[in-house]
Amino acid sequence: MSKKNFLLAVEGLTVSFDGFKAVDDVSLYVDPGEVRVIIGPNGAGKTTLLDLISGKTRASSGTIDFKGIELTHLKEHQIVREGLARKFQTPSIYEDLTVYQNLEVSFPRGRGVFGSLFFRRTPDVEAAVQAVAEEIQLTDALSMQAGLLSHGQKQWLEIGMLLMQQAELLMLDEPVAGMSVKERQQTAELLKRISRNRSVIVIEHDMEFVRAIAHKVTVLHQGKVLVEGSMDKVQSDPRVIEAYLGH
């Protein structure tokens, strides 16, 4: 099978911390426009997998191919510049800056030292900020200090910051954690909209939410891929029920 058809092709990815294999020989292929959800019990290696893909942790072995570019040796900011964006488990936004500034700073231009020193707020930046703000329903809060947003709004703002990056692959670590039912539904709608022209990898525990957004589900267990397939297939698999869904 050629890697060319996939946006992201992870093969034989392994990382070991003092002999403990947190991620063990994981292979994963993501199509353009796909929404992939990764589920699994605590300690299954879900977040570590995202850490490996985004360069936060270095892999012990294996390859990560993104649009034909090998990512395992790149630094975090270089991986981001290739078009891969990541959201953290706890909302990670700049509390002291305004919502507008949070989004503006995420715009993918002037990322070098002197580029950022001479960066100008041109009409295309302005337009991008307005468009994203509308998408994440924060148009009225643009001039507000980001630290004053509600928890759900902070989560959306961080997703908005990823959208500003114009990334081709978004990786979201528990995007609806701590959200109300209504906010979860709105987030599901948001993810469906934004996945129209990019791929998304989501880690999530909330099964209702997973069902609403997933094209394909990967179940991780003890660092390995247990099952992969549609939501129905995964939910009825006895091994998944045993390891994760049963309790």
């Binding site: 002291d96 800056l97 030292v113 960066f119």
Partner: protein, 390 residues
């Protein structure tokens, strides 16, 4: 008068502070003070360059350096080497066993000028060295540390160690550096006697002018996207990194700017005071420089300048009045400011004092309950930089 007020209102708020400072430095002080006092202010303003750099690096960048004396000293020594060579012409050093070399070299049985002194015969080279050498040293030092994600208290400790090493090195290599006395008896700059009152007044205005240029440059940096990124990094360094920025490069840049400012201050200090010595390089002066920035307000460019002037005037007055108590007063001042007024005098001024007094009250209540005062921005950034990289 009303038209003057009208003009004042038209100035953007962010420039008003600078305008007032410029008026104070360029008009009020020269009118009110005699040559001696003015020279004293000029000397203090040299430290203001360092404080200004610390506002950028520490206040905004979250990089606490306890070794800014290193860059102040490097700039100052570059200037001093040039002036010393000019003062050591063969005619006026004819009584030495080797005429034409600085007197302290002759006392230390050196018979020729060391190779690294040679280029300092040349004024353009010297001026370039003042700007480039300390900045380059800051670049290498900070790149090595920030690439390895060394930050927070570890960075502060290492910079402090560098300050100690450099001052020890200067003291130890007496024949090459003038040792503990430093480089003294500086007389002329290209034949222009820098010891006269007239020269000192000119140098005072040069010092103020360059300081204002540095403030404008700092203002430009803080208003750019890089300024926003500095604030963002202090809050969520990881988020900045995962937005496609090299956090290490941004930190190196702001640290280099701080070093450059310090070096300019050091060179002007040598010119105005007429000597340079290791007592401006080591740990104590480096920590004092941090105190200047903290007292003035580490988030305020002009605040740091006023803080620097106030602490120095206080130092001059108190060290004369209570020589034994001065250091304790200085230490107490620093602890008090950091605990109760984290934004210094500028913070006190901006909030009309009310917020700061509330904070003081809260702090005192906390102390009574043997608890820590409320956490501040800095602690978060310190903690995150302590985490080892997996």
């Amino acid at each position: 008068m009303t038209s003057l007020l009208e003009y004042y209102r038209r100035i953007p708020a962010s420039w008003r502070g600078l305008l007032i400072l410029a008026l104070v430095l360029l008009v009020v002080f020269p009118l009110l003070m005699g040559s001696f006092r003015l020279n004293l202010v000029g000397k203090y303003l040299c430290f203001a360059y360092v404080a200004l750099g610390l506002v950028l690096a520490w206040g905004y960048g979250g990089i606490l350096s306890l070794g800014q004396g290193v860059f102040f000293g490097l700039g100052g020594y570059c200037m001093a080497m040039y002036l010393k060579l000019e003062a050591s012409d063969p005619v006026s050093t004819a009584i030495q066993s080797t005429p034409g070399i600085p007197d302290f070299m002759d006392w230390n049985q050196l018979t020729e000028l060391p190779w690294f002194w040679e280029p300092f015969h040349n004024l353009p080279f010297t001026l370039l060295a003042i700007l480039v050498l300390p900045t380059l040293f800051a670049y290498v030092l900070s790149l090595a540390m920030f690439r390895r994600r060394v930050g927070g208290v570890y960075f502060a400790i290492i910079t402090q160690a560098v300050a100690l090493i450099l001052s020890t090195l200067i003291i130890g290599q007496q024949g090459y550096t003038g040792g503990v006395n430093g480089i003294t008896d500086l007389k002329t700059l290209e034949g222009w006697d820098i010891r006269t009152d007239a020269a000192k007044t000119v140098l005072y205005f040069v010092c103020c002018g360059l300081l204002i240029v540095c403030i404008v440059a700092s203002q430009f940096i803080l208003k750019s996207k890089l300024g926003l990124l500095l604030v963002a990094m202090r809050d969520k360094e990881e988020r900045v990194r995962f937005s496609g920025y090299s956090v290490a490069d941004l930190k190196v840049f702001v640290f280099c700017v701080a070093a450059l400012f310090s070096a300019i201050g050091g060179a002007l200090f040598t010119l105005q005071v007429g000597f340079m010595s290791p007592s401006f390089v080591g740990i104590v002066p480096s920590v004092e420089m941090v105190i200047f920035a903290a007292v003035g307000g580490r988030l305020s460019l002009v605040g740091a300048i006023y803080g620097c002037l106030m602490v120095n005037f206080g130092k001059t007055y108190f060290s004369e009045a209570f020589p034994e108590l001065w250091l304790f007063l200085m230490g107490g001042l620093f602890i008090g400011i950091v605990m109760f007024f984290p934004n210094g005098m500028a913070g006190l001024f901006q909030s009309g004092g009310r917020e700061s007094l509330k904070q003081l009250w809260r702090g005192l209540i906390h102390m009574r309950h043997h608890d820590r005062p409320s956490p501040r921005v800095d602690e978060a950034s310190l903690d995150s930089s302590l985490e080892p990289r997996s």
